[in-house]
Symmetry: C2
Subunit: 322 residues, 2 copies
Protein backbone atom coordinates (compact mmCIF):
# COMPACT_ATOMS: atom_id res chain seq x y z
CA UNK A 1 0.00 0.00 0.00
CA UNK A 2 1.37 3.45 -0.96
CA UNK A 3 2.01 5.86 1.93
CA UNK A 4 -0.26 8.68 0.81
CA UNK A 5 0.95 11.01 3.55
CA UNK A 6 4.26 11.53 1.68
CA UNK A 7 2.91 12.72 -1.68
CA UNK A 8 2.45 16.46 -2.18
CA UNK A 9 -0.43 17.08 -4.60
CA UNK A 10 0.08 19.44 -7.56
CA UNK A 11 -2.08 22.03 -9.29
CA UNK A 12 -2.62 19.49 -12.10
CA UNK A 13 -3.89 16.98 -9.51
CA UNK A 14 -6.44 19.59 -8.46
CA UNK A 15 -7.54 20.18 -12.06
CA UNK A 16 -7.88 16.41 -12.60
CA UNK A 17 -9.83 16.14 -9.34
CA UNK A 18 -12.30 18.79 -10.51
CA UNK A 19 -13.03 16.89 -13.73
CA UNK A 20 -13.35 13.62 -11.79
CA UNK A 21 -15.76 14.90 -9.13
CA UNK A 22 -17.93 17.29 -11.14
CA UNK A 23 -20.77 14.74 -11.57
CA UNK A 24 -20.81 14.13 -7.80
CA UNK A 25 -20.65 17.64 -6.32
CA UNK A 26 -22.53 20.92 -6.63
CA UNK A 27 -21.03 24.16 -7.87
CA UNK A 28 -22.23 25.94 -4.72
CA UNK A 29 -23.43 29.56 -4.87
CA UNK A 30 -21.49 32.57 -3.56
CA UNK A 31 -23.62 34.79 -1.35
CA UNK A 32 -23.34 38.35 -0.07
CA UNK A 33 -25.01 40.48 2.57
CA UNK A 34 -25.04 44.28 2.47
CA UNK A 35 -25.60 44.24 6.21
CA UNK A 36 -22.54 42.08 6.96
CA UNK A 37 -20.49 44.29 4.65
CA UNK A 38 -21.56 47.34 6.64
CA UNK A 39 -20.87 45.60 9.92
CA UNK A 40 -17.33 44.57 8.95
CA UNK A 41 -16.30 47.35 6.58
CA UNK A 42 -15.12 44.66 4.15
CA UNK A 43 -16.76 43.27 1.02
CA UNK A 44 -17.51 39.68 1.97
CA UNK A 45 -18.20 36.77 -0.37
CA UNK A 46 -19.45 33.53 1.16
CA UNK A 47 -18.93 30.27 -0.74
CA UNK A 48 -21.74 28.07 0.57
CA UNK A 49 -20.30 24.56 0.78
CA UNK A 50 -23.00 23.80 3.36
CA UNK A 51 -25.24 23.48 0.27
CA UNK A 52 -23.41 20.38 -0.97
CA UNK A 53 -25.87 17.44 -0.86
CA UNK A 54 -24.13 15.88 2.17
CA UNK A 55 -23.67 19.36 3.64
CA UNK A 56 -19.92 19.97 3.56
CA UNK A 57 -16.91 20.74 1.30
CA UNK A 58 -15.45 17.38 2.32
CA UNK A 59 -17.55 15.76 -0.41
CA UNK A 60 -14.92 17.14 -2.79
CA UNK A 61 -11.93 15.34 -1.28
CA UNK A 62 -13.94 12.24 -0.45
CA UNK A 63 -15.31 11.93 -3.99
CA UNK A 64 -11.87 12.46 -5.50
CA UNK A 65 -10.45 9.62 -3.40
CA UNK A 66 -13.38 7.23 -3.98
CA UNK A 67 -13.73 7.78 -7.72
CA UNK A 68 -9.95 7.71 -8.24
CA UNK A 69 -9.69 4.11 -7.01
CA UNK A 70 -9.19 1.27 -9.49
CA UNK A 71 -12.04 -1.26 -9.62
CA UNK A 72 -9.87 -3.71 -7.71
CA UNK A 73 -9.06 -1.21 -4.95
CA UNK A 74 -12.66 -0.06 -4.80
CA UNK A 75 -13.90 -3.61 -4.18
CA UNK A 76 -12.41 -3.60 -0.67
CA UNK A 77 -14.12 -0.31 0.13
CA UNK A 78 -12.76 2.67 2.04
CA UNK A 79 -12.25 3.47 5.71
CA UNK A 80 -11.41 6.54 7.76
CA UNK A 81 -11.62 8.31 11.11
CA UNK A 82 -13.34 11.69 11.34
CA UNK A 83 -15.05 14.09 13.71
CA UNK A 84 -18.01 14.01 11.36
CA UNK A 85 -18.15 15.67 7.97
CA UNK A 86 -15.38 13.64 6.34
CA UNK A 87 -17.07 10.49 7.65
CA UNK A 88 -20.43 11.37 6.16
CA UNK A 89 -19.04 12.76 2.91
CA UNK A 90 -16.86 9.69 2.36
CA UNK A 91 -19.91 7.51 3.09
CA UNK A 92 -21.89 9.56 0.58
CA UNK A 93 -19.22 9.17 -2.13
CA UNK A 94 -18.77 5.45 -1.38
CA UNK A 95 -22.55 5.04 -1.57
CA UNK A 96 -22.60 6.65 -5.01
CA UNK A 97 -19.92 4.19 -6.17
CA UNK A 98 -21.65 1.31 -4.38
CA UNK A 99 -18.69 0.29 -2.20
CA UNK A 100 -18.41 -0.22 1.59
CA UNK A 101 -17.32 2.59 3.91
CA UNK A 102 -16.16 2.05 7.53
CA UNK A 103 -15.66 5.07 9.76
CA UNK A 104 -14.37 5.64 13.29
CA UNK A 105 -16.10 8.58 14.97
CA UNK A 106 -15.81 10.03 18.49
CA UNK A 107 -18.87 9.05 20.53
CA UNK A 108 -19.36 12.80 21.19
CA UNK A 109 -19.76 13.69 17.49
CA UNK A 110 -23.02 15.52 16.69
CA UNK A 111 -25.98 13.17 16.29
CA UNK A 112 -26.84 14.83 12.96
CA UNK A 113 -23.49 13.72 11.57
CA UNK A 114 -23.78 10.14 12.84
CA UNK A 115 -27.31 9.88 11.42
CA UNK A 116 -26.09 11.07 8.03
CA UNK A 117 -23.25 8.50 7.90
CA UNK A 118 -25.79 5.73 8.46
CA UNK A 119 -28.26 7.22 5.97
CA UNK A 120 -25.56 7.11 3.29
CA UNK A 121 -24.76 3.48 4.08
CA UNK A 122 -21.57 3.96 6.14
CA UNK A 123 -20.72 1.77 9.16
CA UNK A 124 -19.68 3.56 12.37
CA UNK A 125 -17.31 2.33 15.07
CA UNK A 126 -17.18 4.75 18.00
CA UNK A 127 -14.04 5.88 19.87
CA UNK A 128 -13.27 8.28 22.71
CA UNK A 129 -12.91 11.98 21.77
CA UNK A 130 -9.11 12.02 21.70
CA UNK A 131 -6.52 11.59 18.96
CA UNK A 132 -4.98 8.66 20.85
CA UNK A 133 -8.23 6.70 21.09
CA UNK A 134 -9.20 7.51 17.53
CA UNK A 135 -5.94 6.19 16.09
CA UNK A 136 -6.02 3.00 18.18
CA UNK A 137 -9.62 2.12 17.30
CA UNK A 138 -9.01 2.95 13.66
CA UNK A 139 -5.99 0.62 13.40
CA UNK A 140 -8.22 -2.25 14.50
CA UNK A 141 -11.00 -1.34 12.02
CA UNK A 142 -8.61 -0.96 9.11
CA UNK A 143 -6.91 -4.30 9.84
CA UNK A 144 -10.30 -6.02 10.03
CA UNK A 145 -11.88 -4.53 6.88
CA UNK A 146 -8.83 -4.10 4.60
CA UNK A 147 -10.43 -0.99 3.09
CA UNK A 148 -8.43 1.82 1.48
CA UNK A 149 -7.58 4.42 4.12
CA UNK A 150 -8.72 7.89 3.10
CA UNK A 151 -7.34 10.22 5.77
CA UNK A 152 -9.62 13.20 6.44
CA UNK A 153 -6.89 15.66 5.39
CA UNK A 154 -3.36 14.21 5.34
CA UNK A 155 -3.93 12.69 1.91
CA UNK A 156 -3.01 14.23 -1.47
CA UNK A 157 -6.26 13.02 -3.08
CA UNK A 158 -8.26 14.76 -0.38
CA UNK A 159 -6.27 18.00 -0.51
CA UNK A 160 -6.50 18.11 -4.33
CA UNK A 161 -10.27 17.62 -4.01
CA UNK A 162 -10.68 20.40 -1.43
CA UNK A 163 -8.65 22.68 -3.72
CA UNK A 164 -11.44 22.62 -6.31
CA UNK A 165 -13.50 24.87 -4.03
CA UNK A 166 -11.10 27.81 -4.42
CA UNK A 167 -10.98 27.28 -8.18
CA UNK A 168 -14.77 27.70 -8.39
CA UNK A 169 -14.65 30.58 -5.91
CA UNK A 170 -12.20 32.54 -8.09
CA UNK A 171 -14.31 31.81 -11.20
CA UNK A 172 -17.44 33.06 -9.40
CA UNK A 173 -15.97 36.36 -8.17
CA UNK A 174 -14.16 39.20 -9.93
CA UNK A 175 -10.96 38.67 -7.99
CA UNK A 176 -10.40 38.62 -4.22
CA UNK A 177 -7.80 40.25 -1.96
CA UNK A 178 -8.04 37.73 0.85
CA UNK A 179 -9.46 34.30 1.54
CA UNK A 180 -10.42 33.14 5.03
CA UNK A 181 -11.18 29.52 5.92
CA UNK A 182 -11.37 27.63 9.20
CA UNK A 183 -8.43 25.42 10.15
CA UNK A 184 -8.59 22.13 12.01
CA UNK A 185 -6.41 19.47 10.44
CA UNK A 186 -5.81 21.88 7.57
CA UNK A 187 -7.41 20.08 4.61
CA UNK A 188 -9.46 23.03 3.30
CA UNK A 189 -6.66 25.51 3.95
CA UNK A 190 -4.15 23.23 2.18
CA UNK A 191 -6.43 22.84 -0.83
CA UNK A 192 -6.87 26.62 -0.86
CA UNK A 193 -3.07 27.11 -0.77
CA UNK A 194 -2.58 24.49 -3.47
CA UNK A 195 -4.98 26.23 -5.84
CA UNK A 196 -4.34 29.89 -5.10
CA UNK A 197 -0.54 29.68 -5.03
CA UNK A 198 -0.73 28.93 -8.76
CA UNK A 199 -4.05 30.47 -9.83
CA UNK A 200 -4.03 33.70 -7.80
CA UNK A 201 -0.86 34.08 -5.71
CA UNK A 202 -1.82 37.70 -4.92
CA UNK A 203 -4.63 36.52 -2.61
CA UNK A 204 -3.65 36.43 1.09
CA UNK A 205 -4.74 33.24 2.80
CA UNK A 206 -5.90 33.59 6.41
CA UNK A 207 -6.70 30.58 8.59
CA UNK A 208 -9.26 31.01 11.39
CA UNK A 209 -9.10 28.82 14.50
CA UNK A 210 -10.90 28.54 17.86
CA UNK A 211 -8.79 29.90 20.76
CA UNK A 212 -9.62 26.71 22.65
CA UNK A 213 -8.14 24.51 19.90
CA UNK A 214 -5.32 26.79 18.72
CA UNK A 215 -2.69 24.16 17.96
CA UNK A 216 -2.36 25.37 14.34
CA UNK A 217 -1.86 28.95 15.57
CA UNK A 218 0.85 27.81 17.98
CA UNK A 219 2.44 25.60 15.31
CA UNK A 220 2.52 28.54 12.90
CA UNK A 221 4.21 30.78 15.47
CA UNK A 222 6.65 28.05 16.59
CA UNK A 223 7.59 26.88 13.08
CA UNK A 224 6.80 23.22 13.71
CA UNK A 225 3.70 21.07 14.33
CA UNK A 226 2.28 21.23 17.84
CA UNK A 227 -0.56 18.74 18.43
CA UNK A 228 -3.07 18.71 21.30
CA UNK A 229 -4.62 15.42 22.19
CA UNK A 230 -8.19 16.38 23.05
CA UNK A 231 -9.03 20.09 22.76
CA UNK A 232 -12.58 21.16 23.62
CA UNK A 233 -14.49 23.67 21.45
CA UNK A 234 -17.97 24.17 20.08
CA UNK A 235 -16.38 24.14 16.61
CA UNK A 236 -16.48 20.35 16.54
CA UNK A 237 -14.93 20.11 13.07
CA UNK A 238 -11.72 21.84 14.14
CA UNK A 239 -10.36 19.71 16.97
CA UNK A 240 -7.80 17.68 15.01
CA UNK A 241 -4.09 18.55 14.64
CA UNK A 242 -2.03 19.43 11.56
CA UNK A 243 -0.11 16.60 9.88
CA UNK A 244 2.90 16.58 7.53
CA UNK A 245 1.11 17.34 4.28
CA UNK A 246 -1.10 20.10 5.63
CA UNK A 247 1.84 21.58 7.56
CA UNK A 248 3.70 21.78 4.23
CA UNK A 249 0.97 24.02 2.79
CA UNK A 250 0.27 25.99 5.97
CA UNK A 251 3.94 26.79 6.61
CA UNK A 252 4.61 27.78 2.99
CA UNK A 253 1.49 29.65 1.91
CA UNK A 254 -0.66 30.87 4.82
CA UNK A 255 -0.27 34.61 5.56
CA UNK A 256 -1.66 34.52 9.07
CA UNK A 257 -3.67 32.46 11.56
CA UNK A 258 -6.21 34.31 13.71
CA UNK A 259 -8.19 32.94 16.65
CA UNK A 260 -11.61 33.61 18.21
CA UNK A 261 -13.19 32.75 21.56
CA UNK A 262 -16.14 30.40 21.98
CA UNK A 263 -18.52 33.33 22.56
CA UNK A 264 -17.21 35.18 19.51
CA UNK A 265 -17.78 32.04 17.42
CA UNK A 266 -21.35 31.63 18.69
CA UNK A 267 -22.13 35.32 18.06
CA UNK A 268 -20.75 35.13 14.52
CA UNK A 269 -22.73 31.96 13.87
CA UNK A 270 -25.98 33.58 14.97
CA UNK A 271 -25.31 36.73 12.94
CA UNK A 272 -24.72 34.62 9.83
CA UNK A 273 -27.90 32.59 10.33
CA UNK A 274 -29.82 35.83 10.80
CA UNK A 275 -28.48 37.92 7.94
CA UNK A 276 -27.32 35.38 5.33
CA UNK A 277 -30.20 33.09 6.32
CA UNK A 278 -28.17 29.94 5.94
CA UNK A 279 -27.79 27.00 8.32
CA UNK A 280 -24.10 26.48 9.03
CA UNK A 281 -21.95 24.84 11.67
CA UNK A 282 -20.06 26.54 14.50
CA UNK A 283 -16.80 25.69 12.69
CA UNK A 284 -17.83 27.85 9.72
CA UNK A 285 -18.43 30.84 11.96
CA UNK A 286 -14.78 31.12 13.00
CA UNK A 287 -13.80 33.09 9.84
CA UNK A 288 -16.50 35.76 10.41
CA UNK A 289 -15.59 35.83 14.11
CA UNK A 290 -11.95 36.67 13.33
CA UNK A 291 -13.00 39.24 10.71
CA UNK A 292 -15.26 40.99 13.24
CA UNK A 293 -12.44 40.87 15.81
CA UNK A 294 -9.75 42.21 13.45
CA UNK A 295 -11.74 44.64 11.29
CA UNK A 296 -8.73 46.80 10.43
CA UNK A 297 -7.04 43.83 8.72
CA UNK A 298 -9.99 43.30 6.37
CA UNK A 299 -11.46 46.82 5.92
CA UNK A 300 -11.95 47.83 2.31
CA UNK A 301 -10.83 44.42 1.06
CA UNK A 302 -12.63 41.86 -1.08
CA UNK A 303 -12.67 38.87 1.24
CA UNK A 304 -13.70 35.32 0.36
CA UNK A 305 -15.07 33.22 3.22
CA UNK A 306 -15.47 29.47 2.88
CA UNK A 307 -18.65 28.27 4.60
CA UNK A 308 -17.45 24.75 5.17
CA UNK A 309 -20.51 22.82 6.36
CA UNK A 310 -24.10 22.83 7.56
CA UNK A 311 -24.67 19.67 9.55
CA UNK A 312 -25.91 20.83 12.96
CA UNK A 313 -28.22 19.38 15.57
CA UNK A 314 -31.19 21.75 15.23
CA UNK A 315 -32.36 20.70 18.69
CA UNK A 316 -29.06 21.78 20.29
CA UNK A 317 -28.22 25.25 18.98
CA UNK A 318 -25.44 26.92 20.97
CA UNK A 319 -27.34 30.13 21.70
CA UNK A 320 -30.27 28.16 23.13
CA UNK A 321 -28.05 26.12 25.46
CA UNK A 322 -26.72 29.19 27.22
Amino acid sequence: MKDMSMIIPTYEDMLAAHERIKPHIRRTPVMQSDYLNELTGAQLFFKCENFQEPGAFKVRGGSNAVFGLSDEEAQRGVCTHSSGNHALCLSYAAGRRGIPCNVVMPRTAPQAKKDAVRRYGGTITECEPSTTSREAVFAEVQARTGGEFVHPYNDPRVIAGQGTCSKEFMEQTDGLDMMVAPIGGGGMISGTCLTLSTLAPEVSIIAAEPEQADDAYRSFKAGHIIADDAPETIADGLKVPLKDLTWHFVSNHVSDIMTASEQEIIDAMKITWKYLRIVMEPSCAVPLAVILKNKEAFAGKRVGVVVTGGNVDLDKLPWMAQ
Copy 2:
Protein backbone atom coordinates in the same frame (compact mmCIF):
# COMPACT_ATOMS: atom_id res chain seq x y z
CA MET B 1 -55.65 59.65 -5.13
CA LYS B 2 -56.22 56.71 -7.50
CA ASP B 3 -57.95 53.67 -6.03
CA MET B 4 -55.24 51.12 -6.68
CA SER B 5 -57.41 48.24 -5.55
CA MET B 6 -59.46 48.45 -8.79
CA ILE B 7 -56.63 48.13 -11.33
CA ILE B 8 -55.75 44.64 -12.57
CA PRO B 9 -52.04 44.49 -13.46
CA THR B 10 -50.98 43.08 -16.83
CA TYR B 11 -48.11 40.91 -18.02
CA GLU B 12 -46.50 44.06 -19.44
CA ASP B 13 -46.73 45.69 -16.00
CA MET B 14 -44.79 42.71 -14.64
CA LEU B 15 -42.10 43.05 -17.33
CA ALA B 16 -41.80 46.78 -16.62
CA ALA B 17 -41.60 46.03 -12.89
CA HIS B 18 -38.71 43.64 -13.47
CA GLU B 19 -36.70 46.27 -15.34
CA ARG B 20 -37.52 48.86 -12.65
CA ILE B 21 -36.53 46.74 -9.65
CA LYS B 22 -33.52 44.83 -11.00
CA PRO B 23 -31.00 47.20 -9.36
CA HIS B 24 -32.73 46.76 -6.00
CA ILE B 25 -33.32 43.01 -5.77
CA ARG B 26 -31.30 39.82 -6.06
CA ARG B 27 -31.83 37.14 -8.67
CA THR B 28 -32.12 34.51 -5.95
CA PRO B 29 -30.75 31.00 -6.50
CA VAL B 30 -32.86 27.88 -7.11
CA MET B 31 -31.83 25.00 -4.86
CA GLN B 32 -32.45 21.26 -4.88
CA SER B 33 -32.04 18.38 -2.44
CA ASP B 34 -31.71 14.76 -3.56
CA TYR B 35 -32.95 13.74 -0.13
CA LEU B 36 -36.15 15.82 -0.32
CA ASN B 37 -36.75 14.47 -3.83
CA GLU B 38 -36.50 10.92 -2.47
CA LEU B 39 -38.75 11.77 0.45
CA THR B 40 -41.51 13.26 -1.71
CA GLY B 41 -41.16 11.29 -4.95
CA ALA B 42 -41.26 14.61 -6.82
CA GLN B 43 -38.46 16.69 -8.32
CA LEU B 44 -38.47 19.82 -6.20
CA PHE B 45 -36.96 23.21 -7.07
CA PHE B 46 -36.78 25.82 -4.32
CA LYS B 47 -36.57 29.50 -5.29
CA CYS B 48 -34.86 31.07 -2.29
CA GLU B 49 -36.45 34.47 -1.80
CA ASN B 50 -35.29 34.31 1.81
CA PHE B 51 -31.92 35.30 0.33
CA GLN B 52 -33.16 38.74 -0.72
CA GLU B 53 -31.24 41.37 1.30
CA PRO B 54 -34.28 42.16 3.49
CA GLY B 55 -35.13 38.45 3.57
CA ALA B 56 -38.38 38.16 1.61
CA PHE B 57 -39.93 38.22 -1.88
CA LYS B 58 -41.90 41.29 -0.80
CA VAL B 59 -38.91 43.44 -1.68
CA ARG B 60 -40.04 42.93 -5.29
CA GLY B 61 -43.50 44.46 -4.91
CA GLY B 62 -42.31 47.08 -2.43
CA SER B 63 -39.48 48.23 -4.70
CA ASN B 64 -41.80 48.37 -7.70
CA ALA B 65 -44.21 50.63 -5.82
CA VAL B 66 -41.52 52.89 -4.31
CA PHE B 67 -39.45 53.34 -7.47
CA GLY B 68 -42.55 53.80 -9.64
CA LEU B 69 -43.59 56.95 -7.72
CA SER B 70 -43.08 60.39 -9.28
CA ASP B 71 -40.66 62.64 -7.38
CA GLU B 72 -43.62 64.64 -6.10
CA GLU B 73 -45.45 61.54 -4.83
CA ALA B 74 -42.24 60.16 -3.35
CA GLN B 75 -41.67 63.28 -1.28
CA ARG B 76 -44.61 62.43 1.01
CA GLY B 77 -43.24 58.93 1.56
CA VAL B 78 -45.13 55.66 1.74
CA CYS B 79 -47.21 53.93 4.38
CA THR B 80 -48.70 50.50 4.90
CA HIS B 81 -49.95 47.88 7.33
CA SER B 82 -48.33 44.46 7.40
CA SER B 83 -47.74 41.41 9.52
CA GLY B 84 -44.06 41.89 8.94
CA ASN B 85 -42.25 41.20 5.69
CA HIS B 86 -44.08 43.79 3.59
CA ALA B 87 -43.40 46.35 6.34
CA LEU B 88 -39.68 45.67 6.39
CA CYS B 89 -39.32 45.31 2.61
CA LEU B 90 -41.19 48.56 1.99
CA SER B 91 -38.97 50.24 4.61
CA TYR B 92 -35.94 48.82 2.84
CA ALA B 93 -37.07 50.11 -0.57
CA ALA B 94 -38.06 53.51 0.86
CA GLY B 95 -34.66 53.70 2.55
CA ARG B 96 -32.92 53.07 -0.78
CA ARG B 97 -34.91 55.92 -2.31
CA GLY B 98 -34.39 58.08 0.78
CA ILE B 99 -38.09 58.68 1.54
CA PRO B 100 -40.11 58.16 4.76
CA CYS B 101 -41.97 54.92 5.45
CA ASN B 102 -44.69 54.53 8.10
CA VAL B 103 -45.96 51.06 8.95
CA VAL B 104 -48.69 49.66 11.17
CA MET B 105 -47.75 46.24 12.60
CA PRO B 106 -49.52 43.92 15.04
CA ARG B 107 -47.83 44.08 18.44
CA THR B 108 -47.48 40.27 18.20
CA ALA B 109 -45.35 40.41 15.02
CA PRO B 110 -41.97 38.63 15.36
CA GLN B 111 -39.32 40.79 17.02
CA ALA B 112 -36.91 40.03 14.15
CA LYS B 113 -39.32 41.71 11.73
CA LYS B 114 -39.88 44.79 13.91
CA ASP B 115 -36.12 45.18 14.40
CA ALA B 116 -35.55 45.04 10.65
CA VAL B 117 -38.17 47.73 9.93
CA ARG B 118 -36.37 50.07 12.34
CA ARG B 119 -32.93 49.15 10.95
CA TYR B 120 -34.10 50.17 7.48
CA GLY B 121 -35.41 53.49 8.79
CA GLY B 122 -39.14 52.70 8.91
CA THR B 123 -41.42 54.03 11.67
CA ILE B 124 -43.71 51.52 13.40
CA THR B 125 -47.14 52.14 14.95
CA GLU B 126 -48.44 49.02 16.70
CA CYS B 127 -52.00 47.65 16.51
CA GLU B 128 -53.85 44.63 17.92
CA PRO B 129 -53.48 41.37 15.94
CA SER B 130 -56.82 41.61 14.12
CA THR B 131 -57.88 42.95 10.73
CA THR B 132 -60.31 45.35 12.42
CA SER B 133 -57.67 46.94 14.64
CA ARG B 134 -55.10 47.06 11.88
CA GLU B 135 -57.41 48.94 9.51
CA ALA B 136 -58.53 51.43 12.17
CA VAL B 137 -55.00 52.27 13.33
CA PHE B 138 -53.81 52.49 9.75
CA ALA B 139 -56.52 55.01 8.78
CA GLU B 140 -55.22 57.30 11.50
CA VAL B 141 -51.57 56.91 10.47
CA GLN B 142 -52.32 57.52 6.80
CA ALA B 143 -54.38 60.62 7.55
CA ARG B 144 -51.60 62.00 9.73
CA THR B 145 -48.64 61.31 7.38
CA GLY B 146 -50.22 61.73 3.95
CA GLY B 147 -47.91 59.05 2.55
CA GLU B 148 -48.76 56.93 -0.50
CA PHE B 149 -50.55 53.78 0.62
CA VAL B 150 -48.85 50.65 -0.66
CA HIS B 151 -51.16 47.80 0.32
CA PRO B 152 -49.25 44.59 1.14
CA TYR B 153 -51.02 42.72 -1.66
CA ASN B 154 -54.21 44.37 -2.94
CA ASP B 155 -52.22 46.72 -5.16
CA PRO B 156 -51.38 46.23 -8.86
CA ARG B 157 -47.84 47.59 -8.40
CA VAL B 158 -47.20 45.05 -5.66
CA ILE B 159 -48.69 42.10 -7.56
CA ALA B 160 -46.73 43.02 -10.72
CA GLY B 161 -43.57 43.14 -8.59
CA GLN B 162 -44.20 39.75 -6.99
CA GLY B 163 -44.82 38.30 -10.46
CA THR B 164 -41.15 38.87 -11.35
CA CYS B 165 -40.23 35.96 -9.08
CA SER B 166 -41.98 33.41 -11.33
CA LYS B 167 -40.38 34.95 -14.41
CA GLU B 168 -36.90 34.34 -12.96
CA PHE B 169 -37.97 30.91 -11.70
CA MET B 170 -39.00 29.79 -15.21
CA GLU B 171 -35.75 31.18 -16.66
CA GLN B 172 -33.73 29.27 -14.04
CA THR B 173 -35.39 25.88 -14.59
CA ASP B 174 -35.97 23.74 -17.66
CA GLY B 175 -39.74 23.97 -17.34
CA LEU B 176 -41.98 23.02 -14.43
CA ASP B 177 -45.21 21.02 -14.15
CA MET B 178 -46.48 22.66 -10.99
CA MET B 179 -45.74 25.68 -8.82
CA VAL B 180 -46.57 25.78 -5.11
CA ALA B 181 -46.56 28.95 -3.03
CA PRO B 182 -48.03 29.87 0.35
CA ILE B 183 -51.21 31.93 0.40
CA GLY B 184 -52.15 34.58 2.94
CA GLY B 185 -53.53 37.72 1.32
CA GLY B 186 -52.59 36.22 -2.03
CA GLY B 187 -49.92 38.63 -3.30
CA MET B 188 -47.30 36.03 -4.25
CA ILE B 189 -49.91 33.66 -5.67
CA SER B 190 -51.48 36.49 -7.70
CA GLY B 191 -48.09 37.53 -9.09
CA THR B 192 -47.45 33.88 -9.94
CA CYS B 193 -50.81 33.65 -11.74
CA LEU B 194 -50.18 36.94 -13.54
CA THR B 195 -46.84 35.74 -14.92
CA LEU B 196 -47.51 32.07 -15.58
CA SER B 197 -50.93 32.53 -17.20
CA THR B 198 -49.08 34.23 -20.07
CA LEU B 199 -45.55 32.82 -19.87
CA ALA B 200 -46.28 29.17 -19.03
CA PRO B 201 -50.04 28.46 -18.83
CA GLU B 202 -49.33 24.71 -18.71
CA VAL B 203 -47.97 25.02 -15.15
CA SER B 204 -50.54 24.15 -12.45
CA ILE B 205 -50.57 26.69 -9.63
CA ILE B 206 -51.19 25.29 -6.15
CA ALA B 207 -51.69 27.53 -3.11
CA ALA B 208 -50.68 26.19 0.31
CA GLU B 209 -52.41 27.44 3.45
CA PRO B 210 -52.39 26.69 7.20
CA GLU B 211 -55.50 24.74 8.30
CA GLN B 212 -55.85 27.23 11.15
CA ALA B 213 -56.04 30.19 8.75
CA ASP B 214 -57.84 28.51 5.84
CA ASP B 215 -59.99 31.43 4.69
CA ALA B 216 -58.54 31.27 1.16
CA TYR B 217 -59.31 27.55 0.99
CA ARG B 218 -62.90 28.16 2.09
CA SER B 219 -63.22 31.12 -0.28
CA PHE B 220 -61.96 28.97 -3.16
CA LYS B 221 -64.53 26.24 -2.39
CA ALA B 222 -67.37 28.72 -1.82
CA GLY B 223 -66.66 30.85 -4.89
CA HIS B 224 -66.51 34.15 -3.01
CA ILE B 225 -64.20 35.83 -0.47
CA ILE B 226 -64.53 34.62 3.11
CA ALA B 227 -62.47 36.65 5.59
CA ASP B 228 -61.57 35.73 9.18
CA ASP B 229 -60.78 38.56 11.54
CA ALA B 230 -57.97 37.13 13.64
CA PRO B 231 -56.86 33.60 12.78
CA GLU B 232 -54.04 32.08 14.85
CA THR B 233 -51.20 30.13 13.21
CA ILE B 234 -47.45 29.78 13.53
CA ALA B 235 -47.26 30.85 9.88
CA ASP B 236 -47.39 34.51 10.90
CA GLY B 237 -47.17 35.79 7.32
CA LEU B 238 -50.39 34.05 6.27
CA LYS B 239 -53.04 35.43 8.61
CA VAL B 240 -54.53 38.08 6.32
CA PRO B 241 -57.59 37.62 4.08
CA LEU B 242 -57.94 37.75 0.29
CA LYS B 243 -59.03 41.05 -1.27
CA ASP B 244 -60.64 41.95 -4.61
CA LEU B 245 -57.48 41.96 -6.75
CA THR B 246 -55.98 38.79 -5.34
CA TRP B 247 -59.36 37.06 -5.47
CA HIS B 248 -59.46 37.89 -9.17
CA PHE B 249 -56.24 35.94 -9.76
CA VAL B 250 -56.96 33.14 -7.29
CA SER B 251 -60.45 32.46 -8.64
CA ASN B 252 -59.31 32.54 -12.27
CA HIS B 253 -55.93 30.81 -12.28
CA VAL B 254 -55.29 28.71 -9.16
CA SER B 255 -55.72 24.95 -9.73
CA ASP B 256 -56.11 23.97 -6.10
CA ILE B 257 -55.62 25.12 -2.51
CA MET B 258 -54.24 22.58 -0.03
CA THR B 259 -53.92 22.96 3.73
CA ALA B 260 -51.59 21.67 6.44
CA SER B 261 -51.80 21.46 10.23
CA GLU B 262 -49.53 23.40 12.58
CA GLN B 263 -47.49 20.27 13.38
CA GLU B 264 -47.12 19.42 9.69
CA ILE B 265 -45.86 22.96 9.04
CA ILE B 266 -43.31 22.75 11.87
CA ASP B 267 -42.10 19.33 10.70
CA ALA B 268 -41.68 20.57 7.11
CA MET B 269 -39.85 23.65 8.36
CA LYS B 270 -37.37 21.57 10.34
CA ILE B 271 -36.83 19.15 7.45
CA THR B 272 -36.04 22.05 5.13
CA TRP B 273 -33.60 23.65 7.57
CA LYS B 274 -31.91 20.28 7.98
CA TYR B 275 -31.63 19.13 4.38
CA LEU B 276 -31.60 22.36 2.34
CA ARG B 277 -29.67 24.10 5.13
CA ILE B 278 -31.51 27.38 4.72
CA VAL B 279 -33.15 29.57 7.36
CA MET B 280 -36.76 30.11 6.40
CA GLU B 281 -40.00 31.14 8.07
CA PRO B 282 -42.85 28.88 9.13
CA SER B 283 -44.96 30.41 6.32
CA CYS B 284 -42.53 29.06 3.70
CA ALA B 285 -42.84 25.53 5.07
CA VAL B 286 -46.53 25.24 4.18
CA PRO B 287 -45.80 24.27 0.53
CA LEU B 288 -43.51 21.37 1.52
CA ALA B 289 -46.01 20.38 4.21
CA VAL B 290 -48.82 20.03 1.64
CA ILE B 291 -46.50 18.21 -0.78
CA LEU B 292 -45.56 15.67 1.92
CA LYS B 293 -49.24 15.30 2.82
CA ASN B 294 -50.46 14.83 -0.77
CA LYS B 295 -47.54 12.95 -2.32
CA GLU B 296 -49.67 11.32 -5.03
CA ALA B 297 -50.57 14.74 -6.45
CA PHE B 298 -46.92 15.67 -6.95
CA ALA B 299 -45.18 12.32 -7.58
CA GLY B 300 -43.00 12.29 -10.69
CA LYS B 301 -43.66 15.98 -11.34
CA ARG B 302 -41.23 18.90 -11.62
CA VAL B 303 -42.48 21.14 -8.83
CA GLY B 304 -41.38 24.72 -8.14
CA VAL B 305 -41.63 25.87 -4.52
CA VAL B 306 -41.37 29.53 -3.60
CA VAL B 307 -39.42 29.99 -0.36
CA THR B 308 -40.99 33.30 0.54
CA GLY B 309 -38.94 34.62 3.46
CA GLY B 310 -36.33 34.03 6.13
CA ASN B 311 -36.96 36.48 8.95
CA VAL B 312 -37.36 34.36 12.08
CA ASP B 313 -36.62 34.87 15.75
CA LEU B 314 -33.68 32.48 16.19
CA ASP B 315 -34.32 32.48 19.94
CA LYS B 316 -37.89 31.24 19.46
CA LEU B 317 -37.79 28.32 17.02
CA PRO B 318 -41.05 26.38 16.98
CA TRP B 319 -39.49 22.96 17.60
CA MET B 320 -37.71 24.27 20.70
CA ALA B 321 -40.88 25.77 22.22
CA GLN B 322 -42.66 22.45 22.33
